[in-house]
């Protein structure tokens, strides 16, 4: 319907058009950004709070996987995880679900490092991926209802458990009044969040964004659910050796938690305010397998990697390192290896590929962001992160996985792979340092 049937209504419209209200919105100024810089990032993980703790662990090939202490794990079959140590978050941002607290802690570090202060909050966004949202709140609610036989729940249960709770809290804390939302695509959530923020800035719909991911899935019910899938590495006596990607003696994946958040802004803005440019998001690939819900497809993964290259105007020769999804399950490791070979052909043999999940476990929707963060931190020191526990190479996995020790390599551009349940794939291409 293009016109009103009511003259009175037409008149009212014209009147309101002629006399805008005092708080009428200004027209949006669209500023297309040719390039998108990383000027700050933060991480909280099983290594502790901050980039320095993560870098120390990566440099020394030291696992952060440990016995779970945040919940009573005594009756669980799997009692290990990449759990964030208590002293990394205690007392910080109380009054939120655990996953939101992690996002806020990581965003604080990103903001502090970037020294970013928006001149236009309406063009500053908060895009935070999560696979599972407010698990702590949901678990406590279900326990109360079903186990403790209570009939009522805290009135904050919805606000704390909703999937966009972290994106909302990060937006509010940092006064990001532009596009802000959660991205939910299982283990690809934060790769997709970073990709979405990158495209929003590049296309001119945002000037800057806090983008990343957060998850805190170490609850009784979530661990029980993962146990029933029979994909967890259960090595309660030796947690650090549990996650063994690309190794024939692999045992499965190790659950983890944490967050990483990046301050992304246009190069123009970063240069104008004299910010240190720590890296550049150069390409993003996003595909769907439209196949099996849990079995990954090499086709979907390959297309995502190729799309990230094409999106960034990159060729296979530009890529010096690949941070693999590398969960440590047989299905992932061989499929991902095949996908890398599909895209890179013979060059695949010359590219270091590593799974930092071997060190920090699988932080679900936060994993892509955490992996980009630890890669950037290592690359800034002239290192590529290792794949630890790779003692018995799987014949189906025959790339250079940087086994067991970080390696001195100058990396200019790398890919970060994330492949989620539901067949949802996200690949981010990142240029380290200032680029050219």
């Amino acid at each position: 319907m293009t016109r009103s049937d009511s003259p009175a209504e037409d008149e009212r419209r014209q009147s309101s058009a002629a006399k805008p209200s005092a708080d009428a919105c200004e027209p949006t100024q669209r500023r297309v950004a040719a390039r998108v810089a990383v000027t700050g990032y933060g991480i909280v993980s099983c290594f502790g709070r901050g980039k320095a703790a993560a870098l120390d662990a990566i440099r020394n090939a030291r696992s952060g996987v440990r016995t779970i202490t945040s919940i009573d794990s005594s009756s669980l079959a799997c009692r290990i995880a990449g759990e964030v140590p208590q002293d990394a978050h205690e007392g910080l941002h109380r009054g939120y679900d655990r996953f939101t607290r992690f996002a806020l802690i990581a965003a604080d570090e990103a903001m502090e490092q970037s020294r970013f202060s928006t001149t236009d909050p309406t063009r500053f966004g908060s895009i935070i991926g999560t696979g599972l949202g407010g698990c702590e709140t949901q678990d406590a609610s279900y326990r109360r209802l079903y186990k403790d036989d209570q009939s009522r729940l805290p009135p904050t249960a919805i606000a704390h458990s909703m999937y966009n709770a972290a994106a909302s809290a990060v937006a509010t804390k940092n006064q990001a009044r532009g596009a802000s939302y959660a991205v939910v695509s299982a283990c690809a959530s934060s790769a997709h969040a970073i990709g979405q923020a990158f495209h929003a800035i590049r296309s001119g719909s945002l000037d800057a964004a806090l983008a990343g991911g957060a998850d805190a899935p170490l609850t009784y019910s979530i661990i029980r659910a993962w146990e029933s899938m029979r994909v967890l590495a259960i090595d309660n006596e030796n947690p650090a050796a549990a996650c063994r990607p690309f190794s024939n003696d692999r045992k499965g994946l190790v659950l983890a938690e944490g967050a990483a958040v990046f301050l992304l802004e246009s190069f123009e803005s970063a240069i104008a305010r004299g910010a240190d440019i720590l890296g550049e998001i150069v390409g993003f690939g996003i595909t769907s397998d439209a196949g099996h819900v849990t079995d990954p497809s090499a086709d979907g993964a390959s297309r995502a990697m190729q799309m990230a290259l094409d999106d960034g105007g990159l060729t296979i020769d530009d890529i010096d390192y690949i941070n693999a999804h590398g969960t440590g399950t047989r299905a992932n490791d061989s499929t991902e290896t095949a996908a890398i070979k599909n895209v890179f052909g013979e060059r695949a043999d010359a590219i270091p590929v590593s799974s930092t999940k071997s060190l920090h476990g699988h932080a679900m929707g936060a994993s892509g962001a955490i992996e980009i963060a630890v890669s950037l931190a290592a690359i800034a020191e002239g290192l590529v992160p290792p794949t630890i526990n790779l003692t018995d190479p799987d014949p189906a996995c025959d790339l250079d996985y940087v086994p067991n020790a970080a390696r001195s390599v100058q990396v200019r551009t790398f890919l970060s792979n994330s492949f989620g349940f539901g067949g949802m794939n996200g690949v981010v291409a990142i240029r380290a340092g200032r680029g050219n």
Binding site: R152, P154, P155, T156, A159
Partner: protein, 83 residues
């Protein structure tokens, strides 16, 4: 339960939900003026119901504007004061 005990318990509940300067909770303190927003108020009501094992009807909750109203409602519903 004596009124003074109820008042002390309510102060603890409110302060547990919301950081307030020490001298802000007098019977005539308007909850909104103390910075207690609608979600804080719901959490406080929930904690009161848990602590005193009472159920505060919605219309009574909506009518609770000051800290004094809060004390009076709890007194009434716990039988500490005549309705």
């Amino acid at each position: 339960m004596e009124r003074a005990e109820i008042e002390q318990a309510l102060i603890e509940i409110v302060r547990n939900e919301k950081k307030l300067p020490d001298d802000t909770l007098a019977p005539d303190t308007a909850l909104a003026d103390a910075g207690i927003d609608s979600l804080d108020a719901l959490s406080i009501l929930f904690a009161i119901e848990e602590r005193f094992r009472i159920s505060i009807p919605d219309d009574r909750a909506r009518a609770m504007k000051t800290f004094g109203d809060m004390i009076a409602i709890v007194e009434e519903l716990t039988g500490a004061a005549p309705a």
